[in-house]
Amino acid sequence: MPKSRGSIATPVRDLELHVLLAVLAVGAEAYPLAIRDAIVERTSRRVSRAAVFITLERLEDKGLVRSWYGDPTPVRGGRAKRFFRATPAGIAATRAALDLLASMSAGLDAQLKRS
């Protein structure tokens, strides 16, 4: 059940932000395997398939992504891919989370570099 609400962006958790960014980065071909590969590639962070699956399900429940099924392909034993796309609410939530990070880290460059 989507629970997107008005102009206030839904807060997203750490992995949710990663997944949303990966969905946006991969674009039209965003299916779980490609999304996971994008996260691993960009962050070198080990993410399990189960974690990506749970996160995508949660994001869909929150109305931040939308999924649909493609055509079956022979290399997958005749099974279809499940593609994901960020909804406007998803894009807003991503932007809000990044803005939050940016505003929280503003002026901290010197300290962050020091440590």
């Binding site: 299916y31 399900e57 949660r58 099974r79």
Partner: protein, 912 residues
């Protein structure tokens, strides 16, 4: 074209339980993509499969978690969620408590895993071989009906179509009837442009509907498709449809090229339908003409679907009446048999598997006892903790629930380990199992088998946890919280505290003794088999079975001839025509350089088949016919059969070229037959009446053959024992197949290929390849060897488990009585006396257990009789070995605790 979705894999089906089908398919598709990548990177198959199984498990868990999150959000506070939360709390508590006692948890899981693994593997085999032998919901009502004519009128034959229709019309026992030919068709079909050798079955058009398994695509045969000219239609198995037509639904109406001819595909049977054997890939309608049917030369087996409520006994009675009438109409006397189709297909293997299943039940019970003992010990060690919980207000019901959850957790872990072990065991069965057990290779650890593993494991663990759980209800708070010197924690006297554990160990020892006796019996029987004298010289002897070519001169189907004299002459003519072909073949084979001698019989020793003759009578006193108490194995042999095989002639003569159809009919019998038929008399010159009724009385017209010789017994199957054997000269009674025996000359070059070429050029159709008899003899003990090894494995596992049980109980005894022993030592008892005290406890248990076990074994080993060879079910050696093994196990298991008891330091103990 959109590719058709592949069949859902086990992983996909597991995921479907927790998420929609499409979602599960997409996830599995993702995994398959990665599997392809891993495989191309050279990752081993085993590692890839393990990785895939792990991913499926984690995805299942993830889906379960997300479902739960949704349920919690939507119905927070509802009863199911509260229950779920409560259960979760119990599970967490159980896991914590087991983590505190890793040795107990590990031992219990290993014990359960071993037993559940064995039980699951045996169930998997039973499921494939017995439960799925006959597909569809009608398995319990399908019967196989066959009849034979008394020899020498005709070659043994089965009820044909004509008879089937009569049976359906004349009796009210069948709802429907059909027929199939037991001999598979070997055909070359064009699959993906390549020729492929396939096995098919020829069935009547009414055959497939009997099973009530609807085709996956298309339809069953139509009645008119049995007519010659309209019969080029075929129904495919699921696997052939997938390989030849890539699972394309538009295959219906297209053609499959079989032996060069196009056959129209009219249907596809669903996956799993593989009657009558696993290798059958297609079915075609039987097109025997009316004349062929009446001649009964086409071997058919009739299958009837009994009406609901009709028992085998009433079906048998009804058919007996009908067949007697049918026989009278044709002037023939018919003998018939009716068996449940499943029993007929599975045969002896089914009964043996049920026995093994019972044996594995014993192993499971021993394991169950072990876990129960472990839990009891752990419970008694925690009696103070439990008492504190109770005194602080915990409900007894809650404590029971906690105890049960704990044992269920052990059960679940045991199920996981057991399933993994079962997968390995099934692989071992595929690799080492005897090919003679039908459908054994179809054994899989499928969802049903996995469900069995989980159910058995949880049931076993709950059963094991029941006693400790009940104990927590009877806990005496006062004594448990006190710290009396001679009062065991938990209250009650020592004897009563240990009675439960002692009884469990006793039960284990009884079961183990029975298993050990059983496995000793089978092992001793195996040793006898390995050293048995086969009655002939197998050196340089080779054999192959082959079908005779059609005789050059057409003969009138003899069953349509009503005049007995004319029919007799017609049969003689047919037999002689076939004998010319066999004589020619034997002469050609003997002419091959390197062949010492050649002969023909019906079924080669230790080969695939055999025929038995019932209804034989012997004349011990003049004019009085006594039925032979056993069926005699019959063979139709050529003149020099006995010479080629090297069978010792004991009395009389063997066959000559003069023993033709027109001459008096003669037989040669084995020593065993002679002993059984005419004890203390010479068999040569005696007569055998082949027309004895089922009631043991001779039929109206005696059909006599005279015994002209007695030969040594042959072992057709190594385990057959001294069965009576009877030999007919092929010139008087023949069979459409021969077992060709060839003995090569010593030091000669290989003759196999030349003999096979000769068979082909003489028009015979070989049903295999010329194989050394020594190999066949070795192959024929594979099955008894397999059963003996499996039972021995079970016995070993249970002996080890019982050892752990004895060790646990005696060890616990020591820890419970440490203070008492310390006091005894302080008062002057010697250390050996203390050790002996413990060993005596173990010894007493072993003694009672073994005696009861031997009594149990004596009453149960009778079930093994059919598996034993030259060993009686009450074999003294086996009954002597088993107690020694069990007593030794108990002694060794008690040794550790006894030594520990002897090392107790009274000073430290009494100070502490």
């Amino acid at each position: 074209m959109t590719p058709r979705p592949a069949k859902p894999t086990l992983g996909e089906r597991i995921l479907r339980r927790v998420m929609p089908v499409k979602k599960a398919a997409a996830l599995v598709g993702d995994l398959d993509e990665e599997v392809t990548t891993r495989t191309s990177q050279g990752v081993s198959r085993w590692r890839t499969n393990s990785w895939r199984a792990l991913q499926i498990a984690s995805l299942w868990w993830a889906a379960w978690r997300i479902n739960r999150e949704r349920a919690t959000t939507e119905c927070a506070g509802s009863a199911p969620v509260r229950w779920l939360d409560g259960t979760q709390r119990d599970v967490r508590h159980g896991l914590r408590s087991l983590r505190r006692r890793p040795t107990l948890a590990l031992t219990a899981v290993l014990t359960l895993g071993l037993a559940v693994g064995a039980a699951t593997a045996v169930y998997g085999v039973l499921d494939a071989v017995v439960l799925r032998a006959v597909p569809g919901p009608n398995a319990a009502r399908l019967v196989s009906v066959s009849y034979t004519l008394p020899p020498p009128n005709l070659i043994g034959s089965s009820l044909n179509h004509d008879g089937v229709d009569d049976a359906a019309e004349r009796t009210s026992v069948f709802e429907r009837v059909g027929a199939w030919k037991p001999k598979p068709i070997k055909a070359t079909a064009t699959v993906n442009g390549e020729p492929a050798d396939l096995l098919g079955a020829e069935v009547s058009t009414s055959f497939l509907p009997l099973f009530a398994v609807a085709p996956e695509l298309g339809r069953w045969f139509l009645a008119e498709e049995a007519e010659p000219g309209r019969s080029h239609v075929v129904i495919l198995s699921d696997s052939l449809w997938r390989s030849a037509f890539s699972g394309d639904p538009s295959a219906i109406g297209r053609s499959l090229i079989v032996d060069g001819d196009p056959y129209e595909v009219v249907g596809v049977m669903p996956d799993g339908f593989d009657f009558p054997r696993a290798a059958v890939r297609f079915w075609v309608p039987d097109t025997a003409t009316a004349d062929e049917r009446v001649s009964m030369q086409h071997d058919h087996i009739a299958i009837g679907l009994l009406r609901p409520g009709v028992t085998m006994a009433s079906a048998r009675a009804s058919l007996a009446t009908m067949l007697t009438r049918m026989g009278q109409d044709r002037g023939l006397q018919l003998r018939f048999s009716i068996d449940l189709l499943r029993d007929q297909l599975v045969g002896r293997a089914g009964r043996v598997l049920v026995l093994l299943f019972a044996a594995v039940g014993f192993v499971l019970a021993v394991a169950c006892g072990n876990v129960s003992i472990l839990l009891l010990i752990s419970h008694s060690a925690r009696a103070r903790e439990t008492a504190i919980r109770l005194s602080l207000g915990a409900g007894r019901g809650e404590l029971v629930r906690l105890a049960l959850v704990e044992s269920m957790l052990l059960g679940l872990a045991g199920a996981m380990l057991g399933s993994a072990l079962a997968v390995l065991a099934v692989q071992a069965v595929h690799a080492f199992g005897p090919a003679t057990i039908p459908r054994l290779l179809l054994t899989r650890v499928n969802i049903g088998v996995l469900a069995f593993a989980i159910a058995v494991s949880i049931a076993a663990s709950v059963l094991a946890g029941l006693l400790p759980a009940v104990r927590s209800l009877r806990l005496n708070l006062e004594t448990s919280l006190g710290d009396g010197l001679f009062v065991a924690p938990g209250g009650g006297s020592l004897a009563s505290r240990h009675r439960g554990q002692a009884l469990l160990v006793l039960g284990q020892l009884v079961l183990v003794t029975v298993l050990v006796v059983g496995s000793c019996l089978l092992l001793r029987s195996l040793v006898k088999l390995l050293t048995v004298d086969v009655g002939f010289n197998p050196d340089r002897l080779m054999a192959v079975e082959a079908a005779l070519p059609e005789p050059p001169t057409s003969t009138t189907p003899h069953a349509v001839i009503t005049d007995p004299a004319a029919r007799h002459a017609a049969i003689g003519q047919a037999v002689a025509a076939r004998q010319v072909l066999v004589d020619q073949l034997l002469a050609d084979v003997r002419a091959i350089p390197g062949v010492e001698s050649a002969a023909a019989m019906t079924f080669v020793p230790t080969g695939s088949g055999g025929a038995f003759r019932a209804g034989l009578g012997v004349e011990r006193t003049a004019g009085e016919w006594t039925p032979l108490p056993e069926h005699a194995r019959d063979q139709q042999v050529t003149d020099d059969f006995f010479k080629t095989l090297g069978v010792h002639l004991i009395a009389g003569r063997t066959f000559t070229t003069a023993d033709t159809w027109g001459a008096p009919h003669v037989v040669v019998v084995s020593e065993g037959f002679a002993r059984l038929g005419w004890p203390g008399q010479s068999a040569v010159g005696q007569y055998i009446n082949e027309n004895m009724g089922r009631d043991g009385r001779p039929g109206s017209t005696p059909e006599l053959v005279q015994v002209v010789g007695v030969v040594a017994n042959l072992r057709y199957e190594l385990a057959a024992g001294d069965e009576p054997q009877i030999y007919y000269p092929r010139r008087q009674l023949d069979h459409p197949e021969i077992g060709l025996l060839v003995r090569s000359a010593p030091g000669s070059a290989s003759v196999e290929q030349l003999v096979m070429n000769r068979l082909q050029s003489d028009g015979f159709r070989a049903l295999g390849y010329l194989a050394p008899m020594v190999d066949a003899i070795r192959g024929s003990i594979v099955e008894p060897k397999f059963y003996a090894l499996v039972l021995t494995l079970f016995a070993i596992v249970s002996v080890v488990l019982a050892g752990v049980g004895v060790y646990g109980v005696t060890g616990h005894l020591v820890s419970q009585r440490t203070r008492e022993m310390g006091v005894r030592l302080a008062l002057g008892a010697r250390r050996e006396q203390i050790g002996a005290l413990i060993l005596r406890a173990a010894g007493t248990l072993a003694l009672i257990g073994v005696v009861a076990g031997l009594m149990g074994a004596a009453s149960l080993t009778g079930f093994l009789r059919s598996l034993l060879f030259e060993v009686t079910p009450l074999d003294a050696a086996s009954f002597a070995i088993a107690p020694v093994v069990v007593a030794l196990t108990a002694f060794v298991a008690g040794l550790g605790p006894a030594r520990r008891a002897g090392k107790i330091d009274p000073a430290t103990l009494l100070r502490g």
